[in-house]
């Protein structure tokens, strides 16, 4: 689910292994217990740890470390503010993240990561012009991996995949640590995959694994390529292995989808139950997962009432294209096609070249009887990426050939 929270998954801490960094900071703080800067760094590292491992119980620890830093040194503590902003982003509390970003900018407007927090929050809130401006400021201040990666995502959102690829390659040039190299290669792989170029995607994923053999997202990327090529059993084996060690919701969903399309219903249900447990834990640790839940619910026609409520609630809070798309897909599932189409237009308002968004709009248009528009959108979706979804790619092709005959 790269599109949902893109720049967020990038390692914030550059260089060295995170575990080593955490150990160093802990040792430092045991020797110097009132070192507020180390507490801020530790908090940020814990956020990072939670993201890498999907272990949301690190969030409360991160919060405690960051608050400790703030209480040791309240004025001009930009590091802690950035940390708390990053934590809020990770918990999908985008208003809070924006507030921390603004507070950090008011404290010191020359620190590049301030604009990272601001830009990410504004992107998620759907305030794109301001977001792009903040990200541009970040690149101007310091053209490095963090700023390039965000700039690349901004291009991708606006439908400029070529530009996104070019900037991501620049980002790759600045990557120094193994995990950063692996991460940027994996991002390149995703950009290729989302534009239907399987061979290139596979190549980048393999290079990512060569750079860091423990980099799980790239292994998941390879599994995705396997599924796109129709090697379902091999893809299932790969995902099952990943889920056994790193049961992140996105991998669990991918595995559940594969079980679903291959008719292994009871195994799919096991994964659904696991997902439910993870959702419970995420909520218990203060993470809002309404967007992910809404999309999942619409995809699998599970608990649609709650799914629609989640999507509507999220849309009331923020107007991002991803929320608009999830709400459109939910409304479609409820047969409310006119409202669905309006939301679908919102989802595509930036001109994003997303096969999934276009597929959703095409299905909605067909339901409304706008066959020409439906044909155009579905054809475009398949043209961008014929393997855009394990669940829906075949439906898209079948519906399109039905419309053409």
């Amino acid at each position: 689910m790269r599109a949902a929270a893109p720049a967020l998954t990038r390692p914030i801490v550059d260089g060295g292994s995170l575990a080593q960094l955490i150990a160093d900071l802990q040792a430092r703080l045991q020797a110097v217990p009132d070192d507020w800067e180390s507490y801020a760094s530790l908090g940020l590292a814990y956020v990072q740890q939670a993201r890498i491992t999907a272990d949301s119980s690190y969030y409360p620890r991160a919060e405690a470390a960051l608050e400790r830093s703030l209480s040791l040194h309240a004025s001009d503590n930009v590091s802690a503010m950035i940390g708390l902003g990053t934590l809020a982003l990770a918990r999908h509390e985008f208003d809070d993240a924006l507030a921390w970003g603004e507070r950090a900018r008011d404290t010191n407007a020359t620190v590049p990561p301030v604009y990272g927090v601001l830009g990410d929050a504004l992107l998620e809130l759907g305030r794109y012009p301001e977001a792009f401006e903040a990200l541009q400021q970040m690149v101007d201040l310091r053209p490095d991996l963090s700023s390039y990666a965000r700039a690349s995502y901004a291009r991708e959102l606006q439908g400029d995949v070529g530009g996104a690829l070019a900037i991501m390659r620049q980002a790759f040039q600045t990557a120094a640590s193994r995990v950063d190299i692996a991460w940027t290669l994996h991002q390149l792989g995703d950009l290729y995959f989302n534009s239907g170029r399987l061979d290139l995607a596979e190549q980048e994923y393999r290079r990512a694994i060569a750079a860091d053999e423990t980099f799980v997202p790239a292994k998941a990327g390879l599994a995705k390529v396997l599924a796109a090529r129709g090697h379902m059993d091999a893809a299932i084996d790969s995902y099952a292995e990943i889920v056994q060690t790193y049961p992140l919701p996105e991998y669990v969903i991918a595995l559940a989808d594969l079980y679903t399309v291959t008719g292994r219903t009871s195994e799919a249900e096991d994964q659904f139950a696991l997902l439910e447990a993870e959702e419970t834990l995420l909520r218990a640790n203060g993470v809002n997962v309404d967007l992910e839940f809404a999309l999942f619910s619409a995809d699998h026609r599970i608990d649609l009432e709650a799914g629609l409520a989640a999507a509507e609630g999220e849309w009331a809070r923020r107007k991002s294209v991803h929320v608009a798309d999830a709400l459109a897909w939910q409304l479609f599932a409820h047969g409310r096609f006119r409202e669905a189409l309006r939301m679908s237009e919102e989802a595509l308002r930036l001109g994003t070249e997303s096969a999934l968004f276009l597929f959703h709009r095409g299905m909605i248009e067909r339901a409304l009887g706008n066959d020409d528009a439906a044909r155009r959108d579905l054809a475009r979706a398949i043209d961008i990426n014929p393997h855009f979804s394990v669940l829906w790619a075949k439906d898209a092709a079948d519906t399109l050939s039905g419309l053409r005959s």
């Binding site: 272990d55 119980s57 060690t245 049961p247 096991d270 139950a273 447990a277 640790n285 999942f296």
Partner: protein, 484 residues
């Protein structure tokens, strides 16, 4: 996602039923919801090694295991299913352990294992399993590696301790566990999980009189019997045909008999009592039957508790209390017998020294009594009703965990009648074995009496009462340790 609630809710109820009531309210796993944590406590003594292995799974991995545990797919984790899972997991872990002395591998075998679920965050459970592996350990440079699940996140810890007749030097790991064997993780913002997967140390058999090594498997009640539970408990899942039924009843009978011959089942006490009381064969028979009736009642009672009231009285918490009660009854019986028989001895001895005018005491009664049976009991006469009850309690109150697992497993599989039959057959085996032991005791007594008519025989009742007192004290201490 929420439409899936019913099966999940059922599962949670099942988890809840099996939970320990005294556990703290839902807490997040202290090391994070995704962790699988492993501890190996290596204990060496004499030429032997025992590895106490603890596996602690946080909410998500425990949840991922549930379909492996729930083999019949009814969303309920029955005691039998948990037993099978623990057996398999314990053997799986063993295959990932490496122990060598001077590069020669040491064979380890599973001695016992136990698993339990505890309430975790978000209404989910965490899972804890303990297994003990034992082996022979020659002196030399020892290397231990735990290669299980290398990629999974979690706390990994190894300790090495030397006990009686052993010395350990140059150890790469400490002798005590920072996490108290994964029970208390350091709650410190500045502490990262330990990641120790191997240990090296030099081991020599010493003459030091260090502390004796703890029993590898502790109290029988605390740990289910690994080698037998698999075989016997497996019976309840078999497809039933008349032949299978007959066979399984026979096997249950044999397991009951074996159980009676295992350690600590009132066998010693019964033998001592029968010897001291000058009992006859029919007494041995009635004691055997009484013990087996008590055992049956106890299994059924505890089974009911486990099924309906385990929130209030979890079976694992009831066990030590039953042990304590057993000990108290045995100690009471022993003290009563000892006091009575000592008085009787003194009275007899006094009568003799009083000279010829003192008429020989026809019965060894110290004083007249309104209950002939009762006084006969205290003085070493035939068996009393109260003594019989005390014996039944001492031998049968503490039910075999295996029998309990079988009963609960059968209930979970909706084979209640079959489970009851198996338990009855088990108790039958128990009775027959005890009767045989009792008979041997009675025979041994008459043999002794004939051989040492004047010397040893008169003290036999007193000595046997002493044995019972000691046994009762031992049972109380053991139960107290389990409670503590």
């Amino acid at each position: 996602m929420r439409r899936l609630l019913p099966p999940v809710a059922l599962l949670l109820i099942a988890f809840g039923v099996l939970q320990v009531a005294s556990a703290p309210p839902a807490m997040a796993h202290p090391l994070g919801n995704f962790t699988v944590n492993r501890y190996s406590g290596i204990e060496v003594s004499g030429g032997a090694v025992a590895i106490r292995y603890v596996l602690d799974m946080a909410e998500i991995p425990a949840f991922q295991e549930r379909s492996a545990i729930d083999t019949d797919g009814d969303e309920i984790l029955s005691a039998a299913e948990r037993g099978f899972w623990a057996d398999r997991e314990a053997r799986l872990i063993l295959s990932g352990l490496g122990l060598s002395v001077d590069d020669r591998p040491v064979d380890l075998s599973l001695a016992c294992r136990e698993m339990g679920l505890r309430p975790g965050q978000g209404g989910l459970s965490t899972l804890r399993m303990e297994a003990v592996y034992t082996g022979r350990l020659p002196a030399g440079r020892v290397r231990y590696v735990d290669a299980n699940d290398p990629d999974r996140l979690g706390w990994r810890e190894v300790t090495v301790r030397a006990f009686e007749n052993a010395s350990v030097s140059d150890s790469s790991v400490p002798s005590t566990s920072t996490s108290r064997e994964l029970l208390r993780y350091p709650d410190d913002l500045l502490q990262s999980p330990l990641d120790v997967r191997e240990a090296t140390f030099s081991f020599a058999e010493g003459r030091t009189s260090g502390r004796p090594a703890p029993e590898p498997c502790g109290g029988e009640a605390a740990l289910a019997e690994a080698p037998t539970a698999g075989g016997f408990a497996a019976l309840v899942t078999w497809k039933l045909t008349p032949a299978v039924l007959l066979f399984s009843l026979l096997v249950a009978f044999l397991f009951g008999a074996l159980h009676a011959l295992g350690p600590g089942h009132g066998k010693t006490i019964m033998a001592a009592y029968l010897v001291g009381a000058g009992a006859r064969l029919r007494h041995a028979v009635s004691v055997g039957i009484a013990v087996s009736l008590m055992h049956t009642a106890s299994v059924l009672g505890l089974g009911l508790i486990a099924l309906f009231a385990s929130r209030l009285f979890p079976a694992e918490a009831v066990y030590p209390w039953l042990g304590l009660l057993t000990g108290a009854v045995v100690l009471g019986l022993g003290s009563f017998l000892l006091a009575g028989r000592l008085r009787a001895r003194r009275a007899e001895g006094g009568a003799r020294s009083d000279g010829p005018q003192s008429h020989p005491h026809p019965h060894p009664h110290p004083q007249p009594s309104d209950d002939a049976v009762e006084t006969g009991d205290a003085a070493g006469g035939p068996i009393s009703r109260r003594g019989l009850t005390a014996l039944a309690v001492s031998g049968g109150l503490l039910p075999s965990p295996t029998a309990l697992v079988v009963l609960l497993g059968a209930v979970a599989l909706h084979r209640v009648a079959y489970g009851l039959s198996l338990v009855l057959a088990f108790s039958g085996g128990l009775a027959v074995a005890l009767i045989i032991v009792g008979t041997l005791a009675v025979r041994a007594r008459s043999f002794l009496s004939r051989r040492a008519r004047s010397g040893l025989a008169p003290w036999l009742p007193v000595a046997s009462a002493g044995v019972i007192v000691v046994a009762g004290t031992f049972l109380i201490i053991r139960a107290t340790l389990q409670l503590g």
